[in-house]
Amino acid sequence: MSEQSELTRTPLNRWHREHGARMVPFAGYEMPVQYRGVLAEHATVRERVGLFDITHMGEIFVTGSAAETWLDGLVTNRVTGLAEGKIVYTALCNETGGILDDMLIYRLGAARWLVVCNAANRVPVVAWLQSRRPVAGVSIEDRSLEMSLVAVQGPYSRAVVGRLAALADRQDDFNELRFYSALNCTVDGEQWIVSRTGYTGEHGYELYVPNAALLPLWEELITHGGDRQIEPIGLAARDTLRFEVCYSLYGHELSEQTTPLEAGIGWAVKLKKQQFVGREALIAQKAAGVPRRLIGLAIEGRTIARQGAVVLSGGEVIGAVTSGTFSPTLKRSLALALVSSTSGVDDLEVEVRGRRFGCHVVTIPFLSARVKGDPEAERTLS
């Protein structure tokens, strides 16, 4: 069996091909990496509105009377007390504090939760959850293969999504939807979830729908966004968009060899909770001093320092780049790097293909997210 034939195709596979997408294997799916070009697509999301097929993401439903305390005892952020319709970002760690995945947890009802995880980690995460499931009070249902996910992101996303027929009788709820909140909608007898979330740093929405609803929804969004020049956006621009606002990416900033305290997502770790997996290790790491930290680098010139490029201070290796690219908005070569916390950051260089380039520390995020407030307000570049 060839590798190609094993790839899962989303319901939009044919649409992507017919609209000029370059398709690539990604986490077991065949996904669009770009359509018109990464720089143009990036600008579309920052300035107008873009549409992403991110059906590859994992959707795991956790239900039951014990689900709340059980989930809270596993993940780093606080789940108990989350109001219905609210969402929390969290890490899931192993016993030594290494990151198994980062995820969103939605409270859909009193005893109904949705865990949204990375596609590449879905199978191990589901197995990990199943292996820790108590004998009663919690059921786990991986519905990733029957659900599709569309992200609509950019300053005009509210105007476009608000025109959906499915939201016609929910206009007040939709307009009042806060960042990291979700609406449950019943559409043709099926459950949809509309949340104000995203991975671009722009005002945006993510819509979870049954597979059969994806193509008509996608086409409806394109119709509604016509006057705003809405465009489909590939995974390449999804990466440059998240990079500029320094949202972590699993396999880059986050991995089993890195703790959330090192990776800059310590705000999603509640050490005061009674229990979560990795708690003791993270408490010990914090007490002993977190050994590495995430920094932002601006590279002199336009050479890109990509993942793995070594970072040196005064000629000594202090760490390595986790993500690096040419920032389409700021128009310069930038990188995120995990470096030793005890090292100085003077006289910095990165090594790219055997050559060293000067660089210096810049504040992260490189670009401020504008996920709150008026979505159509002008951005001031930092």
């Binding site: 770009q34 070009g37 990464v38 720089l39 143009a40 390449a236 440059t240 010139g301 336009r302 050479t303 890109i304 990509r306 690219t325 040419f326 389409p328 070569s333 293909r353």
Partner: protein, 125 residues
């Protein structure tokens, strides 16, 4: 479409000869495969290289590619417009996005390059 006014290398460069000067760039296919180019590093004018030497890099958002010199000789010009506006490589790879001009030291090397039909065959295969 591959124009037949010039020659091509296995590394997806085009070479247009006028007397003893060859103008060099990357093909439409190469520009498409690279995606949006954000940086082109070109050699110094006056430097001399042999056929096949790595003389620079083309950096796109997606990846970095070495730029190989398809013919031996001295660099007599580089396209400063591309240094300032790397997107020219995507917008006009065969014309405004040319990269460098080389004074040929061994014109017989042209025999090793591909004609348009052969290059089209390379893309087809």
């Amino acid at each position: 479409m591959v124009p037949d006014d010039r020659k091509y290398s296995q590394e997806h460069e085009w070479i247009l000869q006028e007397d003893d000067i060859a103008t060099i760039g990357v093909t439409d296919h190469a520009a498409g495969e690279l995606g949006d180019v954000v940086f082109v590093e070109l050699p110094e004018v006056g430097a001399e290289f042999n056929q096949g030497d790595s003389v620079g890099t083309i950096e796109s958002v997606k990846a970095v590619a070495d730029l190989y010199l398809p013919v031996s000789g001295e660099i007599v010009a580089v396209n400063e417009a591309v240094a300032d506006s790397p997107e020219l490589v995507n917008q006009s790879p065969l014309e405004d996005g040319w990269l460098m001009k080389v004074k040929l030291s061994d014109p017989s090397e042209f025999e090793n390059l591909l004609g348009a039909a052969a290059y089209e065959g390379l893309l087809g295969g």
